[in-house]
């Protein structure tokens, strides 16, 4: 659809949340928890942290939660009775106050989960989620969205995007049908925006660090370059922090939890950084050392996904670098690869 521009007063934001809540929408938004910012269900605007650079966790949990029940079963004397969870049984949800990179991150997830056989648990949740992103007025040295085709005002993946253009006013971009439908709930609070507003003036300046095409090309050619991966990953300790804060990492694991009578099947986040990820029952591990796992992480995002799904698996949010306990800086590493 054609995008529409409107103006909303900052002072009306709290009414927005009230409207959503009173119309039965759960609202997921960034919430400050000590030093970290989580994406959580909120009751009112007060709880929402809009002034943060970026939430610690990405917004992917809206459609791909860290623990997801997909099946329930009971164990009889000789038979197992199954009670599948209905993927449709999730509410229409609003994801509010996230950043453009979070919104655009869903396009990687859409591609992964949309591949046949399509993953209904993800898709239904995604379908029922309306994303209101806030463009970025600030950035830090870890941000590199502009290097991977995004930007602080990138609207891809968002249904609505809000940009602060003055102390009082927010520029509202209505980007999709879903967004337009939702905006009806607060149409009375919107006023027309002049077409002359230059949104880019209000956005952070994120320098391009590398050419993504070059990274894709060099990565694809570097599978056998063991030294490269080893040098980059010597200090990597193999935790899953990067994958778990990443808006595009989609690896998961299934685990059954049961007692003698009942059981459930859970889908859980997993990470290719774990040695256990590829461990065979035999004891053999095809990705035996950390450098191979690091290679997998980079290649998956910059070689395999572009090749198979035609999308780069990175939004340049820099969360992985911020979360990394040993300062594995992805921007730096990708820049290095691009310069090979």
């Amino acid at each position: 659809m054609e995008k529409e521009l409107k103006i909303l007063k900052y002072s009306e934001l709290s009414k927005l949340i009230e409207r959503f809540r009173s119309n039965g929408y759960p609202v997921l938004a960034p919430v400050r928890k000590g030093k970290v910012v989580e994406i959580e269900l909120v009751e009112s605007l007060d709880a929402i942290a809009l002034d943060v650079l970026l939430s610690t966790q990405s917004a992917k949990k809206a459609a791909f939660p860290k623990v997801e029940k997909v099946l329930r079963y009971t164990l009889g004397k000789s038979e197992v009775q199954q009670f599948p969870v209905d993927p449709e049984a999730c509410p229409d949800t609003i994801l509010f106050g996230v950043r453009p990179c979070d919104a655009s991150g869903f396009k990687s997830l859409d591609a992964i989960f949309g591949e046949a056989p399509a993953d209904q648990f993800y898709l239904k949740k995604k379908e029922k989620t309306t994303i209101i992103s806030f463009s970025c007025p600030t950035a830090d040295e870890y941000c590199f969205c502009t290097s991977v085709g995004g930007g602080p005002g990138n609207t891809a993946g968002s249904d609505l995007q809000f940009t602060g253009i003055s102390k009082d006013d927010i520029l509202v971009e209505i980007l999709t049908e879903k967004g337009a439908k939702l905006s009806l709930l607060f149409a009375d609070l919107l006023s027309e925006a002049g077409a002359s507003i230059d949104k880019s003036k209000f956005l952070a300046d994120v320098k391009v660090a590398f050419k993504v095409d070059s990274v894709v090309e060099k990565t694809t050619a570097s599978f056998g370059n063991a030294t490269l991966w080893l040098e980059q990953s010597l200090r990597c300790i193999g935790c899953g922090a990067c994958a778990f804060v990443c808006p595009t990492c989609a690896c998961f694991d299934f685990q059954d939890e049961q007692n003698t009578k009942n059981g459930v099947r859970l889908r859980l986040w997993d990470s290719c950084g774990f040695s256990l990820f590829t461990l065979h029952t035999s004891g053999h591990n095809p990705r035996e050392v950390q450098s191979q796992r690091w290679r997998q992480r980079i290649m998956h995002k910059f070689a395999y996904m572009p090749e198979q799904l035609h999308v780069v698996g990175c939004e340049g949010c820099g969360r992985c670098s911020r979360a990394c306990p040993v300062d594995m800086n992805i921007k730096e590493h990708l820049t290095a690869i691009s310069l090979i």
Binding site: K66, V67, E68, R72, A89, E257, N262, V264
Partner: protein, 152 residues
């Protein structure tokens, strides 16, 4: 809470407390049926995680019992166990887990009466404390209802 029948699991060593509980039986001393015994070779074998498993599978109380110090069939298992419990109890208490719900005791093979006392007193205490609601909220069984953890 009058009709609350707590689930209490007793982890006992084979040589002293299990035999002591046998003696309680042989002596026909009555005690509360809420307590059920699981036999271990020695208190030294009782992994602290076993206690956590009991709580999360719905136990309201736990008894851990073995040979008196110096009486261990394997001579030192209970000493090692005691150290482990000292530390573990500290940790449980620090994380807000109710150590009143775990009763540690030394019951020898000759202490049939003591076993009955330990069981009855523990049952009485757990009845007063009521079901372990804090832990029940995160117990295994919470997954099995229809809602459960679907979107956290």
């Amino acid at each position: 809470m009058q009709d609350f029948e707590p689930k209490i699991v007793a982890f006992v060593c084979n040589w002293c407390t299990y035999a002591g509980a046998d003696l309680t039986g042989t002596s026909r001393i009555k005690y509360s049926a809420n307590v059920k015994i699981i036999r271990f070779p020695c208190t030294g074998r009782i992994d602290f995680m076993i206690l956590m498993k009991a709580f999360e599978n719905g136990a309201d109380g736990i008894i851990v019992s073995g040979c008196h110090p110096n009486d261990c069939h394997y001579s030192t298992g209970n000493f090692h166990a005691r150290r482990r419990w000292i530390v573990f109890r500290n940790l449980l208490n620090f994380t807000g887990i109710d150590t009143d719900r775990i009763q540690f005791s030394w019951v020898s093979a000759a202490e049939g009466f003591k076993w009955a006392d330990v069981v009855n007193n523990c049952t009485k205490k757990i009845k007063e404390l009521g079901p372990y609601e804090n832990y029940n909220k995160i117990a295994v069984s919470t997954l099995f209802n229809e809602e459960g953890t679907s979107n956290e």
